[in-house]
Symmetry: C2
Subunit: 316 residues, 2 copies
């Protein structure tokens, strides 16, 4: 009985693993030398509108109180945010005029170089897990420490696909869904055509594949069908940093809120489709201000209003 | 009474003006040295599934009987297909491996260099007009010869936007809709952001703007709203030549079939949204075989089936 009650309490919570960083970003709209960033930060903030979030990440002793407070203020559990001597991961980049390309100016891994995710015991029975883009073996290690998962999935990148292929493929076997962008999907599958690329990836383990296409939205694939989630047409894109991670946060957050479980798999299930729309919605808000600034004021009502806009501009 | 009856007979017909050409095309799937092509050809073929089409174009004395027969076999009125001494417009190009880029290898305007559209009297009372990409002053001349138009619109390109800007802007004033791709929309408006670009273009005359985005589908804008028509995910793209023109043909063809008139303007009217979906459907079929080959066997039933697929992969 005690256990059952405990399970009920954490039933909808979501563990997010990944980087918490400081970013320096320059876009045509301005420049910020150092602001809160990192995949886990964006995923957690976006997901926090839908479900209780528990973060696993590492920061240095330069991590600011106000950044901690922003996350905690969104109800995010930071027991798993390890603080170690040294500097927080730092990344700096500059976007092209149309913001479709960016160059990396600086990457200082700092304390993130030795990141070994440590799951607090209170995290292990959470039913949802989103593994941000880190070394595949570390992702697998986290997955294996969880008990009672309803859904697990994550992100990866070209570096792991190219140089850690076997490790990654081992890791993917334990995932319900994989989130990648289109070039990563092509690289992982060896297929240029997205539909065929998706078919191959779906043989690697995940029953659902999300292919993020930046401003063009995302495609959701399962074995029997696919779904097209459009991008939102913003009048001004201030800073696209983190938009893909906010997509992931909205996506898994909504699935957690809805209590979707592994056996509810497949694009034929409406919750998966709606999760992709909420992903697009959260990605669009992310671009409206620099860094995480939009999440300082964003409300669930605004999210629902934009979701209705998605309905309006896709209905025919 | 005699006039009224005549008007009824042509009520849904559509005049298409533009190039009829021979194309040499190389894609990763193969190479064809010389096959039927040209904007008016693709527009007319795609539209012919929805409405009676009347073509205005010019060909040389090398134009083949079998190509004439293909168009006539689709019920396309070729009274306005002028045949003059000389050679038919010839274009040759080669696509990149992912088929998102192409280079032009050869452009021989031939008889198309002196194209001066001549409207047979029987065409003038047609209610629908689609002006393919030719010199804006020629487009305007055709528009002015029509009486009783319910809808008129057309296409243009970077060359006219840059070097014939005033002439083009003069011409656009008389159009209900404009079809361009995203870079043309940016060039014409001077705005990078598509939403703001659309708002500017809608002040130039057309009440509806279609922004074609290749494999990503198209956006439909009117003053009050926009609509997102996705692209179709083909398993194999054999040859993208003509896909944008087939979009235009499906779009105007459906509007003509439905009898949409100028006062039914606006994205809030479902027929405009569905026209954009039929445009995407026709563009997708076009890519399935080389050149116009798909239209040798395509049926309206196949079109309707794919339209239902669009519903299935966008519904949430």
């Amino acid at each position: 009985m005690e256990l059952a009650r405990h399970v009920t309490i954490v039933a909808m919570s979501l563990v997010v693993v990944g980087s918490v960083a400081y970013d320096g970003v320059e876009t045509p709209h301005g420049k910020v030398d150092r602001m809160l960033g990192g995949a886990a930060t964006y995923i957690a903030l976006a997901a926090s509108y839908f479900a209780p979030v528990k973060v696993v990440a590492v920061v240095g002793d330069d991590f600011e109180r106000e950044d901690y407070d922003l996350l905690a203020g969104r109800g995010i559990d930071l027991e798993g945010l390890e603080r170690v001597p040294g500097k927080t991961f730092y990344w700096a980049g500059k976007y092209s005029d149309d913001m479709n390309d960016r160059i990396t100016l600086q990457t200082d891994l700092n304390v993130f170089a030795d990141f070994a995710p440590k799951l607090p015991p209170s995290y292990r029975s959470a039913p949802y897990l989103l593994l941000g883009n880190i070394q595949p073996a570390l992702q697998r290690g986290v997955r294996e420490q969880m008990n009672g998962l309803r859904l697990a999935g994550g992100d990866t990148m070209n570096y792991w696909i190219r140089d850690f292929r076997e490790e990654l493929i081992d890791t993917l076997r334990g995932w319900d869904f994989l989130l990648v962008n289109d070039s990563e999907a092509r690289m992982l599958s060896g297929e240029q055509n997205l539909r065929r690329a998706a078919a191959r990836i779906l043989q690697m383990g995940p029953h659902t594949l999300v292919v993020k296409r930046g401003e063009y939205g995302a495609l959701l694939f399962s074995n029997s069908a696919y779904f097209h989630a459009p991008g939102y047409l913003l009048e001004t894109v201030f800073d696209p940093t983190g938009a893909g991670d906010c997509f992931a946060g909205g996506f898994i957050g909504y699935l957690a809120e809805q209590g979707v479980k592994q056996s509810d798999s497949g694009v034929s299930i409406n919750q998966w489709r709606r999760a992709a729309i909420y992903g697009s919605v959260m990605g669009s808000f992310c671009c409206e201000k620099f860094g995480v600034d939009r999440f300082r004021t964003l409300t669930r009502d605004e999210i629902e209003e934009r979701y209705r806009e998605f309905r309006a501009f896709t209905d025919f």
